[in-house]
Symmetry: C2
Protein backbone atom coordinates (compact mmCIF):
# COMPACT_ATOMS: atom_id res chain seq x y z
CA UNK A 1 0.00 0.00 0.00
CA UNK A 2 1.25 3.45 -0.99
CA UNK A 3 0.56 6.70 0.88
CA UNK A 4 0.90 9.83 -1.28
CA UNK A 5 0.36 13.50 -0.58
CA UNK A 6 0.29 15.07 -4.03
CA UNK A 7 -2.33 15.15 -6.76
CA UNK A 8 0.37 14.37 -9.32
CA UNK A 9 1.30 11.10 -7.61
CA UNK A 10 -2.34 9.97 -7.45
CA UNK A 11 -2.87 10.78 -11.13
CA UNK A 12 0.28 8.94 -12.14
CA UNK A 13 -0.66 5.79 -10.21
CA UNK A 14 -4.29 5.74 -11.38
CA UNK A 15 -3.26 6.30 -15.02
CA UNK A 16 -0.90 3.34 -14.77
CA UNK A 17 -3.74 1.18 -13.46
CA UNK A 18 -6.13 2.37 -16.15
CA UNK A 19 -3.60 1.57 -18.85
CA UNK A 20 -3.62 -1.98 -17.53
CA UNK A 21 -7.41 -1.99 -17.82
CA UNK A 22 -7.93 -2.09 -14.03
CA UNK A 23 -11.02 -0.58 -12.40
CA UNK A 24 -10.70 1.85 -9.50
CA UNK A 25 -12.95 2.39 -6.46
CA UNK A 26 -12.64 5.53 -4.32
CA UNK A 27 -13.59 5.89 -0.65
CA UNK A 28 -13.46 9.59 0.29
CA UNK A 29 -12.99 10.05 4.07
CA UNK A 30 -11.92 12.59 6.67
CA UNK A 31 -9.84 9.89 8.38
CA UNK A 32 -10.03 8.61 11.98
CA UNK A 33 -11.32 5.50 10.29
CA UNK A 34 -13.82 3.18 11.96
CA UNK A 35 -15.78 0.08 10.99
CA UNK A 36 -18.14 2.23 8.93
CA UNK A 37 -15.28 3.30 6.67
CA UNK A 38 -13.98 -0.28 6.68
CA UNK A 39 -17.26 -1.51 5.26
CA UNK A 40 -16.92 1.02 2.42
CA UNK A 41 -13.38 -0.17 1.66
CA UNK A 42 -14.53 -3.78 1.65
CA UNK A 43 -17.38 -2.98 -0.72
CA UNK A 44 -14.93 -1.10 -2.96
CA UNK A 45 -12.51 -4.04 -2.86
CA UNK A 46 -15.19 -6.47 -3.99
CA UNK A 47 -16.27 -4.41 -7.00
CA UNK A 48 -12.96 -2.91 -8.19
CA UNK A 49 -9.44 -4.07 -9.00
CA UNK A 50 -7.87 -1.21 -7.05
CA UNK A 51 -9.06 0.80 -4.05
CA UNK A 52 -8.07 4.39 -3.27
CA UNK A 53 -8.92 5.96 0.11
CA UNK A 54 -8.63 9.71 0.47
CA UNK A 55 -8.03 11.05 3.96
CA UNK A 56 -8.58 14.79 4.09
CA UNK A 57 -10.22 16.91 6.76
CA UNK A 58 -11.70 19.44 4.36
CA UNK A 59 -11.65 22.95 5.87
CA UNK A 60 -14.20 24.18 3.32
CA UNK A 61 -17.04 22.10 4.77
CA UNK A 62 -16.64 23.36 8.35
CA UNK A 63 -18.42 26.51 9.52
CA UNK A 64 -16.48 29.16 11.50
CA UNK A 65 -17.86 27.90 14.84
CA UNK A 66 -17.54 24.20 14.03
CA UNK A 67 -15.01 21.54 15.07
CA UNK A 68 -12.36 21.79 12.33
CA UNK A 69 -9.45 22.18 14.79
CA UNK A 70 -10.72 19.48 17.17
CA UNK A 71 -11.67 16.97 14.47
CA UNK A 72 -9.75 13.79 15.45
CA UNK A 73 -6.78 12.76 13.29
CA UNK A 74 -4.57 9.64 13.44
CA UNK A 75 -2.82 8.76 10.18
CA UNK A 76 -0.84 5.84 11.67
CA UNK A 77 -4.01 4.17 12.86
CA UNK A 78 -5.78 4.97 9.57
CA UNK A 79 -2.93 3.46 7.54
CA UNK A 80 -3.23 0.20 9.51
CA UNK A 81 -7.00 0.06 8.96
CA UNK A 82 -6.52 0.63 5.23
CA UNK A 83 -3.70 -1.91 4.94
CA UNK A 84 -5.84 -4.53 6.65
CA UNK A 85 -8.77 -3.75 4.37
CA UNK A 86 -6.62 -4.31 1.29
CA UNK A 87 -6.48 -0.68 0.18
CA UNK A 88 -3.95 0.03 -2.58
CA UNK A 89 -3.42 3.77 -2.25
CA UNK A 90 -4.04 6.40 0.43
CA UNK A 91 -4.26 10.00 -0.78
CA UNK A 92 -3.53 12.26 2.18
CA UNK A 93 -3.03 15.83 0.96
CA UNK A 94 -2.27 18.92 3.02
CA UNK A 95 -4.90 21.68 2.67
CA UNK A 96 -2.39 23.68 0.55
CA UNK A 97 -2.31 20.88 -2.01
CA UNK A 98 -6.08 21.06 -2.41
CA UNK A 99 -6.63 24.81 -2.14
CA UNK A 100 -4.29 27.31 -3.78
CA UNK A 101 -4.13 30.70 -2.02
CA UNK A 102 -6.24 32.23 -4.83
CA UNK A 103 -8.68 29.29 -5.01
CA UNK A 104 -12.10 30.72 -5.89
CA UNK A 105 -14.24 28.05 -7.62
CA UNK A 106 -16.96 26.03 -6.01
CA UNK A 107 -19.70 23.52 -6.68
CA UNK A 108 -22.99 24.09 -4.94
CA UNK A 109 -26.62 23.07 -5.06
CA UNK A 110 -30.04 24.47 -4.27
CA UNK A 111 -32.94 22.38 -2.97
CA UNK A 112 -31.43 19.20 -1.52
CA UNK A 113 -28.88 21.13 0.52
CA UNK A 114 -31.26 23.58 2.15
CA UNK A 115 -33.13 21.42 4.70
CA UNK A 116 -31.93 18.97 7.38
CA UNK A 117 -28.22 19.52 8.14
CA UNK A 118 -28.12 22.41 5.64
CA UNK A 119 -30.18 24.58 8.00
CA UNK A 120 -27.68 24.42 10.86
CA UNK A 121 -24.66 24.12 8.58
CA UNK A 122 -25.33 26.61 5.74
CA UNK A 123 -21.95 26.32 3.97
CA UNK A 124 -21.40 22.64 4.68
CA UNK A 125 -22.65 21.12 1.43
CA UNK A 126 -20.91 23.67 -0.75
CA UNK A 127 -17.69 22.45 0.87
CA UNK A 128 -18.68 18.80 0.45
CA UNK A 129 -19.68 19.20 -3.22
CA UNK A 130 -16.51 21.11 -4.02
CA UNK A 131 -14.08 18.70 -2.37
CA UNK A 132 -15.87 15.58 -3.65
CA UNK A 133 -15.90 17.07 -7.15
CA UNK A 134 -12.16 17.72 -6.85
CA UNK A 135 -11.45 14.22 -5.52
CA UNK A 136 -13.47 12.68 -8.35
CA UNK A 137 -11.48 14.70 -10.89
CA UNK A 138 -8.16 13.83 -9.24
CA UNK A 139 -8.76 10.09 -8.86
CA UNK A 140 -11.18 9.56 -11.77
CA UNK A 141 -12.57 6.39 -10.18
CA UNK A 142 -15.09 4.05 -11.77
CA UNK A 143 -17.07 3.91 -8.52
CA UNK A 144 -17.15 5.92 -5.29
CA UNK A 145 -18.46 4.72 -1.92
CA UNK A 146 -20.34 6.71 0.70
CA UNK A 147 -22.05 5.70 3.93
CA UNK A 148 -25.82 5.98 4.34
CA UNK A 149 -25.04 7.44 7.81
CA UNK A 150 -24.59 10.81 6.08
CA UNK A 151 -27.82 10.30 4.18
CA UNK A 152 -28.22 13.85 2.95
CA UNK A 153 -24.58 13.94 1.80
CA UNK A 154 -25.14 10.74 -0.19
CA UNK A 155 -28.23 12.23 -1.88
CA UNK A 156 -26.34 15.46 -2.62
CA UNK A 157 -23.35 13.64 -4.13
CA UNK A 158 -25.65 11.49 -6.28
CA UNK A 159 -27.40 14.64 -7.53
CA UNK A 160 -24.13 16.44 -8.26
CA UNK A 161 -22.87 13.47 -10.26
CA UNK A 162 -26.12 13.28 -12.21
CA UNK A 163 -26.45 17.04 -12.84
CA UNK A 164 -22.81 17.60 -13.80
CA UNK A 165 -22.62 14.36 -15.85
CA UNK A 166 -19.69 12.95 -13.90
CA UNK A 167 -18.91 9.49 -15.28
CA UNK A 168 -18.81 7.77 -11.88
CA UNK A 169 -21.11 5.29 -10.16
CA UNK A 170 -22.05 6.29 -6.62
CA UNK A 171 -22.55 3.41 -4.20
CA UNK A 172 -24.31 3.96 -0.87
CA UNK A 173 -23.48 1.49 1.93
CA UNK A 174 -25.59 0.69 5.02
CA UNK A 175 -24.98 2.36 8.38
CA UNK A 176 -22.59 0.39 10.60
CA UNK A 177 -23.51 0.48 14.31
CA UNK A 178 -21.89 -0.28 17.65
CA UNK A 179 -23.21 -3.38 19.40
CA UNK A 180 -25.68 -1.29 21.36
CA UNK A 181 -26.91 0.46 18.21
CA UNK A 182 -25.07 3.80 18.16
CA UNK A 183 -24.14 4.68 14.59
CA UNK A 184 -20.35 4.63 14.10
CA UNK A 185 -18.91 8.12 13.76
CA UNK A 186 -15.51 9.71 14.23
CA UNK A 187 -17.30 12.31 16.33
CA UNK A 188 -18.33 9.67 18.90
CA UNK A 189 -14.85 10.17 20.41
CA UNK A 190 -16.02 13.59 21.64
CA UNK A 191 -18.53 11.93 24.02
CA UNK A 192 -17.90 11.54 27.76
CA UNK A 193 -18.91 8.22 29.31
CA UNK A 194 -22.22 9.70 30.43
CA UNK A 195 -22.86 11.26 27.03
CA UNK A 196 -21.98 7.99 25.29
CA UNK A 197 -24.86 6.35 27.16
CA UNK A 198 -27.19 9.26 26.44
CA UNK A 199 -26.27 9.11 22.72
CA UNK A 200 -28.10 5.81 22.47
CA UNK A 201 -31.31 7.80 22.30
CA UNK A 202 -30.64 8.44 18.58
CA UNK A 203 -30.53 4.80 17.53
CA UNK A 204 -33.41 3.92 19.86
CA UNK A 205 -35.53 6.67 18.35
CA UNK A 206 -34.65 5.59 14.80
CA UNK A 207 -35.86 2.08 15.69
CA UNK A 208 -39.00 3.53 17.23
CA UNK A 209 -39.67 5.48 14.02
CA UNK A 210 -39.06 2.42 11.87
CA UNK A 211 -41.43 0.30 13.92
CA UNK A 212 -44.14 2.95 14.02
CA UNK A 213 -43.89 3.60 10.26
CA UNK A 214 -44.89 0.01 9.58
CA UNK A 215 -48.48 0.97 10.38
CA UNK A 216 -48.60 4.78 10.82
CA UNK A 217 -48.21 6.57 7.47
CA UNK A 218 -48.78 10.11 8.78
CA UNK A 219 -45.23 11.53 8.82
CA UNK A 220 -46.08 14.23 11.36
CA UNK A 221 -47.36 11.70 13.90
CA UNK A 222 -44.21 9.59 13.58
CA UNK A 223 -41.99 12.65 13.87
CA UNK A 224 -43.83 13.85 16.98
CA UNK A 225 -43.45 10.45 18.64
CA UNK A 226 -39.75 10.41 17.80
CA UNK A 227 -39.26 13.92 19.19
CA UNK A 228 -41.05 13.02 22.41
CA UNK A 229 -38.83 9.98 22.77
CA UNK A 230 -35.66 12.05 22.36
CA UNK A 231 -36.94 14.53 24.95
CA UNK A 232 -36.94 11.76 27.58
CA UNK A 233 -33.12 11.99 27.51
CA UNK A 234 -31.98 15.01 29.59
CA UNK A 235 -28.59 15.36 27.83
CA UNK A 236 -30.19 15.43 24.36
CA UNK A 237 -31.19 18.58 22.48
CA UNK A 238 -32.98 18.17 19.16
CA UNK A 239 -31.60 19.98 16.08
CA UNK A 240 -34.13 18.35 13.74
CA UNK A 241 -36.24 15.23 13.23
CA UNK A 242 -37.69 15.02 9.73
CA UNK A 243 -39.23 12.72 7.16
CA UNK A 244 -38.01 13.49 3.64
CA UNK A 245 -38.16 12.03 0.15
CA UNK A 246 -35.09 9.81 -0.29
CA UNK A 247 -34.03 11.48 -3.57
CA UNK A 248 -35.14 15.12 -3.36
CA UNK A 249 -34.70 15.51 0.44
CA UNK A 250 -38.03 17.38 0.43
CA UNK A 251 -40.28 16.90 3.47
CA UNK A 252 -43.03 14.30 2.95
CA UNK A 253 -46.45 14.21 4.59
CA UNK A 254 -47.07 10.52 3.99
CA UNK A 255 -44.57 7.71 4.55
CA UNK A 256 -45.46 5.67 1.50
CA UNK A 257 -42.75 6.25 -1.13
CA UNK A 258 -39.04 5.74 -0.65
CA UNK A 259 -38.25 8.14 2.15
CA UNK A 260 -35.85 8.81 4.99
CA UNK A 261 -36.44 9.46 8.68
CA UNK A 262 -33.50 11.65 9.66
CA UNK A 263 -32.34 13.44 12.77
CA UNK A 264 -29.58 15.56 14.22
CA UNK A 265 -29.33 15.71 18.00
CA UNK A 266 -26.87 17.46 20.27
CA UNK A 267 -25.56 15.30 23.12
CA UNK A 268 -23.86 17.91 25.26
CA UNK A 269 -21.83 19.89 22.74
CA UNK A 270 -21.52 17.05 20.25
CA UNK A 271 -23.87 17.07 17.27
CA UNK A 272 -24.74 13.54 16.13
CA UNK A 273 -26.85 12.37 13.19
CA UNK A 274 -28.72 9.18 12.38
CA UNK A 275 -31.33 8.07 9.84
CA UNK A 276 -33.14 5.17 8.27
CA UNK A 277 -34.54 4.55 4.80
CA UNK A 278 -38.18 3.45 4.58
CA UNK A 279 -39.70 1.45 1.71
CA UNK A 280 -36.29 1.26 0.02
CA UNK B 1 -18.95 13.42 -39.52
CA UNK B 2 -21.62 12.39 -37.04
CA UNK B 3 -24.23 14.67 -35.44
CA UNK B 4 -25.63 13.34 -32.16
CA UNK B 5 -28.10 14.78 -29.68
CA UNK B 6 -27.66 12.58 -26.61
CA UNK B 7 -25.00 12.42 -23.93
CA UNK B 8 -24.98 8.64 -24.22
CA UNK B 9 -24.04 8.75 -27.90
CA UNK B 10 -21.17 11.17 -27.27
CA UNK B 11 -19.85 9.02 -24.42
CA UNK B 12 -20.02 5.87 -26.51
CA UNK B 13 -18.14 7.44 -29.43
CA UNK B 14 -15.45 9.05 -27.29
CA UNK B 15 -14.90 5.83 -25.31
CA UNK B 16 -14.39 3.96 -28.57
CA UNK B 17 -11.79 6.51 -29.64
CA UNK B 18 -10.02 6.40 -26.29
CA UNK B 19 -9.83 2.61 -26.43
CA UNK B 20 -7.97 3.05 -29.71
CA UNK B 21 -5.58 5.45 -27.94
CA UNK B 22 -6.82 8.48 -29.89
CA UNK B 23 -6.71 11.98 -28.40
CA UNK B 24 -9.80 14.19 -28.41
CA UNK B 25 -10.11 17.97 -28.73
CA UNK B 26 -13.34 19.77 -27.80
CA UNK B 27 -14.59 23.09 -29.17
CA UNK B 28 -17.60 24.24 -27.09
CA UNK B 29 -19.79 26.68 -29.04
CA UNK B 30 -23.26 28.18 -29.12
CA UNK B 31 -23.40 27.60 -32.87
CA UNK B 32 -23.94 30.11 -35.70
CA UNK B 33 -20.33 29.35 -36.46
CA UNK B 34 -17.98 31.89 -38.00
CA UNK B 35 -14.28 32.07 -38.84
CA UNK B 36 -13.46 32.52 -35.15
CA UNK B 37 -14.94 29.12 -34.36
CA UNK B 38 -13.28 27.70 -37.48
CA UNK B 39 -9.87 28.74 -36.18
CA UNK B 40 -10.60 26.84 -32.94
CA UNK B 41 -11.56 23.72 -34.89
CA UNK B 42 -8.43 23.96 -36.97
CA UNK B 43 -6.26 24.32 -33.87
CA UNK B 44 -8.05 21.32 -32.34
CA UNK B 45 -7.53 19.30 -35.52
CA UNK B 46 -3.80 19.97 -35.51
CA UNK B 47 -3.28 18.85 -31.91
CA UNK B 48 -5.76 15.98 -31.58
CA UNK B 49 -6.72 12.81 -33.45
CA UNK B 50 -10.43 13.56 -33.15
CA UNK B 51 -12.38 16.82 -32.87
CA UNK B 52 -15.74 17.25 -31.14
CA UNK B 53 -17.75 20.47 -31.53
CA UNK B 54 -20.63 21.09 -29.14
CA UNK B 55 -23.39 23.39 -30.38
CA UNK B 56 -25.65 24.41 -27.53
CA UNK B 57 -27.27 27.76 -26.80
CA UNK B 58 -27.08 27.40 -23.02
CA UNK B 59 -30.14 28.97 -21.36
CA UNK B 60 -28.37 29.05 -17.97
CA UNK B 61 -25.89 31.74 -19.06
CA UNK B 62 -28.51 34.21 -20.31
CA UNK B 63 -30.10 36.72 -17.93
CA UNK B 64 -33.89 37.21 -17.95
CA UNK B 65 -33.64 40.36 -20.12
CA UNK B 66 -30.96 39.01 -22.46
CA UNK B 67 -31.10 37.64 -26.01
CA UNK B 68 -31.69 33.91 -25.43
CA UNK B 69 -34.73 33.76 -27.75
CA UNK B 70 -33.14 35.92 -30.45
CA UNK B 71 -29.72 34.25 -30.39
CA UNK B 72 -29.11 33.18 -34.00
CA UNK B 73 -29.27 29.45 -34.82
CA UNK B 74 -28.52 27.60 -38.08
CA UNK B 75 -27.57 23.95 -37.67
CA UNK B 76 -27.40 23.24 -41.42
CA UNK B 77 -24.89 26.00 -41.93
CA UNK B 78 -22.97 24.96 -38.80
CA UNK B 79 -22.77 21.35 -39.96
CA UNK B 80 -21.24 22.48 -43.26
CA UNK B 81 -18.65 24.63 -41.46
CA UNK B 82 -17.73 21.71 -39.20
CA UNK B 83 -17.57 19.20 -42.05
CA UNK B 84 -15.24 21.50 -43.97
CA UNK B 85 -13.04 22.00 -40.90
CA UNK B 86 -12.62 18.22 -40.52
CA UNK B 87 -14.70 17.88 -37.35
CA UNK B 88 -15.51 14.27 -36.39
CA UNK B 89 -18.53 14.71 -34.11
CA UNK B 90 -21.09 17.44 -33.45
CA UNK B 91 -22.89 17.26 -30.11
CA UNK B 92 -26.12 19.22 -30.44
CA UNK B 93 -28.33 18.53 -27.42
CA UNK B 94 -31.75 19.95 -26.66
CA UNK B 95 -31.93 21.90 -23.37
CA UNK B 96 -33.88 18.97 -21.84
CA UNK B 97 -30.94 16.64 -22.46
CA UNK B 98 -28.64 18.96 -20.52
CA UNK B 99 -30.99 20.09 -17.74
CA UNK B 100 -33.39 17.68 -16.03
CA UNK B 101 -36.55 19.34 -14.65
CA UNK B 102 -35.13 19.00 -11.10
CA UNK B 103 -31.60 20.09 -12.06
CA UNK B 104 -30.17 22.02 -9.10
CA UNK B 105 -26.34 21.84 -9.14
CA UNK B 106 -24.03 24.55 -10.34
CA UNK B 107 -20.39 25.55 -10.61
CA UNK B 108 -19.56 29.13 -9.75
CA UNK B 109 -16.67 31.37 -8.87
CA UNK B 110 -15.91 34.46 -6.84
CA UNK B 111 -13.30 37.07 -7.83
CA UNK B 112 -12.65 36.60 -11.55
CA UNK B 113 -16.36 36.60 -12.38
CA UNK B 114 -17.31 39.76 -10.52
CA UNK B 115 -15.82 42.53 -12.68
CA UNK B 116 -15.99 43.28 -16.42
CA UNK B 117 -18.91 41.37 -18.02
CA UNK B 118 -19.87 39.94 -14.62
CA UNK B 119 -21.11 43.35 -13.49
CA UNK B 120 -23.71 43.68 -16.24
CA UNK B 121 -24.33 39.93 -16.48
CA UNK B 122 -24.41 38.74 -12.84
CA UNK B 123 -25.48 35.12 -13.50
CA UNK B 124 -23.61 34.70 -16.78
CA UNK B 125 -20.44 33.01 -15.54
CA UNK B 126 -22.31 30.64 -13.26
CA UNK B 127 -24.07 29.42 -16.39
CA UNK B 128 -20.82 29.25 -18.35
CA UNK B 129 -18.94 27.37 -15.62
CA UNK B 130 -21.79 24.92 -15.15
CA UNK B 131 -22.28 24.10 -18.82
CA UNK B 132 -18.56 23.93 -19.60
CA UNK B 133 -18.07 21.67 -16.58
CA UNK B 134 -20.86 19.43 -17.88
CA UNK B 135 -19.47 19.39 -21.42
CA UNK B 136 -16.01 18.50 -20.10
CA UNK B 137 -17.50 15.62 -18.10
CA UNK B 138 -19.57 14.42 -21.04
CA UNK B 139 -16.83 14.55 -23.68
CA UNK B 140 -13.78 14.05 -21.42
CA UNK B 141 -11.48 15.66 -23.98
CA UNK B 142 -7.70 15.89 -23.69
CA UNK B 143 -7.82 19.54 -24.75
CA UNK B 144 -10.50 22.20 -25.07
CA UNK B 145 -10.35 25.33 -27.24
CA UNK B 146 -11.71 28.79 -26.44
CA UNK B 147 -11.38 32.12 -28.23
CA UNK B 148 -9.49 35.03 -26.67
CA UNK B 149 -12.41 37.18 -27.87
CA UNK B 150 -14.24 36.13 -24.68
CA UNK B 151 -11.16 36.91 -22.63
CA UNK B 152 -12.83 36.82 -19.23
CA UNK B 153 -14.56 33.53 -20.08
CA UNK B 154 -11.21 32.01 -21.03
CA UNK B 155 -9.66 33.13 -17.71
CA UNK B 156 -12.68 31.79 -15.80
CA UNK B 157 -12.57 28.40 -17.54
CA UNK B 158 -8.82 28.11 -16.91
CA UNK B 159 -9.39 28.86 -13.23
CA UNK B 160 -12.26 26.39 -12.92
CA UNK B 161 -10.14 23.65 -14.47
CA UNK B 162 -7.24 24.44 -12.14
CA UNK B 163 -9.33 24.77 -8.97
CA UNK B 164 -11.47 21.68 -9.59
CA UNK B 165 -8.52 19.62 -10.86
CA UNK B 166 -10.12 18.80 -14.19
CA UNK B 167 -7.64 16.77 -16.24
CA UNK B 168 -7.97 18.89 -19.38
CA UNK B 169 -5.65 21.32 -21.14
CA UNK B 170 -7.27 24.66 -21.97
CA UNK B 171 -6.05 26.31 -25.17
CA UNK B 172 -6.80 29.97 -25.86
CA UNK B 173 -6.80 31.04 -29.53
CA UNK B 174 -6.33 34.57 -30.93
CA UNK B 175 -9.25 36.81 -31.84
CA UNK B 176 -10.28 36.48 -35.49
CA UNK B 177 -11.38 39.77 -37.09
CA UNK B 178 -13.26 40.94 -40.16
CA UNK B 179 -11.11 42.63 -42.80
CA UNK B 180 -11.89 46.03 -41.34
CA UNK B 181 -11.00 44.89 -37.82
CA UNK B 182 -14.36 44.08 -36.17
CA UNK B 183 -13.98 41.02 -33.96
CA UNK B 184 -15.98 38.07 -35.34
CA UNK B 185 -19.07 37.37 -33.25
CA UNK B 186 -22.38 35.62 -33.82
CA UNK B 187 -23.98 38.74 -32.35
CA UNK B 188 -22.67 40.89 -35.24
CA UNK B 189 -25.71 39.68 -37.18
CA UNK B 190 -27.86 41.87 -34.92
CA UNK B 191 -26.27 45.03 -36.36
CA UNK B 192 -27.97 47.23 -38.97
CA UNK B 193 -25.79 48.55 -41.77
CA UNK B 194 -25.28 51.83 -39.93
CA UNK B 195 -24.51 50.04 -36.65
CA UNK B 196 -22.07 47.72 -38.40
CA UNK B 197 -20.05 50.78 -39.40
CA UNK B 198 -20.31 52.26 -35.91
CA UNK B 199 -19.18 48.95 -34.37
CA UNK B 200 -15.72 49.53 -35.83
CA UNK B 201 -15.12 51.90 -32.94
CA UNK B 202 -14.36 48.87 -30.70
CA UNK B 203 -11.49 47.51 -32.79
CA UNK B 204 -10.18 51.00 -33.48
CA UNK B 205 -10.15 51.78 -29.78
CA UNK B 206 -8.41 48.49 -28.96
CA UNK B 207 -5.69 49.41 -31.47
CA UNK B 208 -5.47 52.87 -29.93
CA UNK B 209 -5.04 51.31 -26.46
CA UNK B 210 -2.38 48.91 -27.75
CA UNK B 211 -0.41 51.70 -29.39
CA UNK B 212 -0.65 54.00 -26.40
CA UNK B 213 0.36 51.23 -23.97
CA UNK B 214 3.69 50.90 -25.77
CA UNK B 215 4.82 54.06 -23.99
CA UNK B 216 2.13 54.99 -21.43
CA UNK B 217 2.09 52.59 -18.47
CA UNK B 218 -0.52 54.44 -16.40
CA UNK B 219 -3.63 52.27 -16.90
CA UNK B 220 -6.04 55.06 -16.01
CA UNK B 221 -4.64 57.36 -18.68
CA UNK B 222 -4.94 54.69 -21.37
CA UNK B 223 -8.48 53.83 -20.26
CA UNK B 224 -9.53 57.50 -20.34
CA UNK B 225 -8.14 57.94 -23.86
CA UNK B 226 -9.96 54.80 -24.99
CA UNK B 227 -13.24 55.98 -23.45
CA UNK B 228 -12.92 59.37 -25.11
CA UNK B 229 -12.33 57.67 -28.42
CA UNK B 230 -15.45 55.54 -28.07
CA UNK B 231 -17.47 58.61 -27.17
CA UNK B 232 -16.71 60.08 -30.61
CA UNK B 233 -19.10 57.47 -32.04
CA UNK B 234 -22.72 58.65 -31.50
CA UNK B 235 -24.21 55.12 -31.71
CA UNK B 236 -21.85 53.73 -29.08
CA UNK B 237 -22.60 53.54 -25.35
CA UNK B 238 -19.83 52.30 -23.06
CA UNK B 239 -20.57 49.44 -20.66
CA UNK B 240 -16.96 49.23 -19.44
CA UNK B 241 -13.38 49.84 -20.51
CA UNK B 242 -10.88 48.30 -18.12
CA UNK B 243 -7.29 47.16 -17.67
CA UNK B 244 -7.05 43.93 -15.70
CA UNK B 245 -4.49 41.30 -14.75
CA UNK B 246 -4.61 38.56 -17.42
CA UNK B 247 -4.98 35.76 -14.86
CA UNK B 248 -6.91 37.19 -11.90
CA UNK B 249 -9.03 39.67 -13.89
CA UNK B 250 -8.33 42.21 -11.14
CA UNK B 251 -7.94 45.86 -12.19
CA UNK B 252 -4.33 46.98 -12.61
CA UNK B 253 -2.91 50.47 -12.13
CA UNK B 254 0.23 49.90 -14.19
CA UNK B 255 0.40 48.19 -17.57
CA UNK B 256 3.64 46.31 -16.96
CA UNK B 257 2.72 42.68 -16.23
CA UNK B 258 0.66 40.40 -18.47
CA UNK B 259 -2.64 42.23 -18.60
CA UNK B 260 -5.72 42.72 -20.72
CA UNK B 261 -7.39 45.86 -22.05
CA UNK B 262 -11.04 44.90 -22.26
CA UNK B 263 -14.28 46.60 -23.20
CA UNK B 264 -17.98 46.07 -23.64
CA UNK B 265 -19.84 48.63 -25.73
CA UNK B 266 -23.47 48.84 -26.78
CA UNK B 267 -23.98 49.67 -30.44
CA UNK B 268 -27.68 50.42 -30.48
CA UNK B 269 -29.18 47.52 -28.54
CA UNK B 270 -26.35 45.10 -29.33
CA UNK B 271 -23.70 44.59 -26.66
CA UNK B 272 -20.29 43.84 -28.21
CA UNK B 273 -17.00 43.00 -26.53
CA UNK B 274 -13.37 43.23 -27.57
CA UNK B 275 -9.99 43.03 -25.86
CA UNK B 276 -6.25 42.70 -26.30
CA UNK B 277 -3.51 41.07 -24.23
CA UNK B 278 -0.52 43.24 -23.35
CA UNK B 279 2.98 41.91 -22.56
CA UNK B 280 1.79 38.36 -23.22
Amino acid sequence: MKIVETIEEVRKQVKEWKKQGLSVGLVPTMGYLHEGHQSLMEAAGKENDKVVVSIFVNPMQFGPTEDLAEYPRDLDHDAKVCEKAGVDLIFHPEPEEMYAPDFCSFVDMTGLTEGLCGKTRPIHFRGVCTVVNKLFNIVQPDRAYFGQKDGQQLAVVRRMVRDLNMDIEIIGCPIVREEDGLAKSSRNTYLSQEERKAALILAKTIRLGEEMAKTEKDAQKVIEAMKKNIETEPLAKIDYVEAVDAVSMEPVKTLDGECMLAMAVYIGKTRLIDNTLLNA
